[in-house]
Amino acid sequence: MELVIKNLHAQIDGKEILKGIDLTIKTGEMHAIMGPNGTGKSTLSAVIMGNPKYIVTEGSITLDGEDVLSMTVDERSRKGIFLAMQYPNEITGITNSDFIKAALQARMKEGEHVSLFKFIKQMDQAVQDLKMNPDLPHRYINEGFSGGEKKRNEILQMKMLKPHFAILDEIDSGLDVDALKVVGENINAMRSDSFASLIITHYQRLLDYINTTHVHIMVNGRIVRSGGKELITKIDNEGYDWIKAELGIVDNEASKKQAIILGSCAVNKGAK
């Protein structure tokens, strides 16, 4: 299977964040996207999943030729797209078990039902693999979870739902060293001919556990460099300044200042 993103532009509150993304991901591949803060990595993942906060102004996303942008969020999920969120929501009153069961049920044909026995077995296994508390299935979705538990719960959902394209948005933030290893190994274990992932991260550490096939660097809403693992090492050693310099990108100080001015409502330069 193939997820193809072409010339993707997207904005939030009238501000353009993605400025023409081109990216093709095939199952069997493990992609990583790295880049400085605020360059649109999370926006890209949210747009692929279909978060209604963002508006796509140009470009296309297709899954084996099918138009993804015209699908609802839940349709995208059922077609095999998965997003592990940076800040997973807490939802009270619904247990993780009921939640995941409902998600699996949504994938069944009419008249078919999730086998309870199989489900419980798989769930227990996933909880064990991720070294999570065995009471997890009976707890409410992410309620009272630590940051690390929430992230592990995202990976648990991924394991249970078995997507074809998993986007992992800073899954490593908030994880301690041991948890990072567990999560990394579990992601790597998903590798197969029918699975691809797009891993968004700031650090090399997570990628130590994952056999990455493609690495992309994103700056200012564009993918500016693609390559192999060697890019990871370079960024870890040298940061992003070298690439900004190569591309002649100057951090837009003016726009940063403007953002501050916007905060104080007394100034309205555009009025006259």
Partner: protein
């Protein structure tokens, strides 16, 4: 699976309303006059004191104003209602002897099925009279009295007279007065000292005659150290004309006793439901109201606990769901009159489609209520921009050593939560339902399983096409 299909069938049909034709044996005609009150008492062959009670209540009703708060009830025309209908002769214990048409209605509600599983005793109220009543043997052996209220008046006259109308006097409010003058049916329970009834006692009832009022009267007495859980469930067919329902539930929990009263009310959306529910709790007694309000056009109901004895405990856990054209004005009252009494109120309100849902509650800690503690939690979710909700708590603390905690939240279903559930493949409407079910989970988990399943179905029905 069988059970679920049954419930689906019930709820599915309920959507359109279903009515079974039954021949009425006695019909008091429309309107409320003194002679109607007299004839009700006469039909029922009641003792003199009850007739006098009804007449006093009638005059009270005529002279009392409508409530000064909550929904506007000035549209009620009391001459438009029928106050007494009797649809079958006498009270029958054997299901086989219940008239076919009535049985048919209850079959649609799945009652015989339910009985097999959970019911210890069934008293199904049909129109104004209880037509089917079955108390299982163990209850009789325990000395528990469980029958319809009319029968109780005849069979246990002294016990009845001692408690009837004491917790809710007919002077309490206009609709308590109305109920007191025309009451008919309802359940009577007496649990003797130290007896613990393990299984919940249940009763289903429905309004099934055009524009008839239903004025049942329930009286529960839990003697010292005894315990009981009573479950009341209502579904009603839909009619185009208004229907008035004014019930009274009186509960007396003696020292160390325990009573839980659970309701899932699902009146059809043309019914005006004005109910007075109150429990009187002696020393170390516990009263719990589990009160679910789905449906009805106007609903006013504030289950109350009078914590009269030291260490008495009161709890109300309630939900109210208002959809299009519905006005839910519900809440709870906790009156602390003694030291070390404690109370908890958890209220969950939901509105959509232009519905209005209010929490209206009173917590009073009197001078004598040293170390009284009260915890109030009111949460509301509003599902769209055309619905509304108000939280109206009254807290009175009359001594320095009492404590009230009050928390209230009002929120909209967050887009981020919806996005999260949908991103796992769950369709928008199902996702919204899940969030709402999660929201009322603190209530649902208190219900017997069957009721929780039915509540689930009702909420789903109310939520149909809530998005888009």
């Amino acid at each position: 699976m069988k059970k679920n299909e049954d419930i689906n069938a019930i709820v599915g049909e309920y959507q359109y309303g279903f009515k079974t034709d039954v021949k009425n044996v006695v019909d008091s005609g429309k309107g409320l006059r003194e002679d109607v009150v007299r004839s009700i008492s006469h039909f029922k062959n009641e003792p003199e004191w009850m007739l006098n009670f009804r007449l006093k209540a009638f005059h009270q009703f005529m002279s009392m104003p409508l409530p000064s708060f909550g929904p506007d009830l000035s549209f009620l025309n009391f001459d438009d209602y029928t106050y007494y209908i009797k649809s079958s002769k006498g009270v029958e214990k054997d299901w086989d002897k219940v008239p076919g048409a009535i049985k048919d209605t209850f079959d649609k509600l799945g009652i015989p099925e339910a009985e097999k599983k959970f019911l210890a005793g069934v008293s199904t109220q049909f129109e104004s009279e209880v037509v089917y009543h079955n108390t299982i043997k163990e209850l009789e052996e325990l000395g528990v009295l469980f029958c319809d209220t009319d029968t109780a008046l005849k069979k246990y006259p002294e016990l009845f007279k001692e408690y009837f109308g004491k917790v809710v006097p007919y002077t309490d409010n206009k609709f308590a007065a109305l109920n007191s003058c025309v009451w008919s049916g309802g359940s009577f329970i007496y649990v003797p000292k130290g007896v613990k009834v393990e299984k919940p006692l249940q009763s289903y009832f429905r309004i099934n005659s055009k524009q008839m009022g239903q004025f049942e009267r329930t009286l529960i007495i839990v003697d010292e150290g005894a315990s009981v859980h009573y479950v009341e469930g209502c579904t009603a067919p839909i009619y185009s004309e208004d229907s008035l329902h004014a019930a009274i539930v009186e509960i007396y929990v003696k020292e160390g006793g325990y009573c839980r009263y659970s309701t899932v009310q699902n009146w059809s959306n043309n019914i005006v439901n004005l109910v007075t529910k109150r429990a009187y709790c002696e020393k170390n007694a516990t009263m719990e109201w589990i009160d679910g309000n789905v449906g009805s056009m106007v609903n006013m109901k504030y289950p109350a606990c009078i914590l009269a004895g030291e260490g008495a405990k009161g709890t109300t856990i309630s939900i109210a769901f208002a959809s299009k054209g519905q006005y839910q004005d519900t809440g709870a009252k906790m009156i602390h009159l003694a030291p070390n009494t404690s109370s908890t109120i958890i209220s969950k309100s939901i509105c959509r489609g232009g519905g209005k849902v209010n929490y209206r509650g009173t917590v009073k800690q009197a001078k004598e209520a040293y170390n009284a503690r009260s915890h109030v939690e009111c949460d509301t979710i509003i599902l769209d921009d055309i619905s509304s909700s108000d939280t109206i708590p009254f807290n009175f603390v009359q001594n320095q050593k009492a404590r009230i905690e009050h928390e209230a939240t009002v929120s909209k279903v967050s887009d981020e939560q919806l996005f999260y559930l949908m991103s796992r493949g769950i369709p928008a409407n199902d996702a919204l339902q899940m969030i709402v079910m999660g929201f009322i989970e603190p209530f649902a988990r208190e219900l017997p399983m069957e009721y929780a399943v039915e509540l689930n179905q009702l909420i789903k029905l109310e939520m149909t096409n809530a998005i888009g």
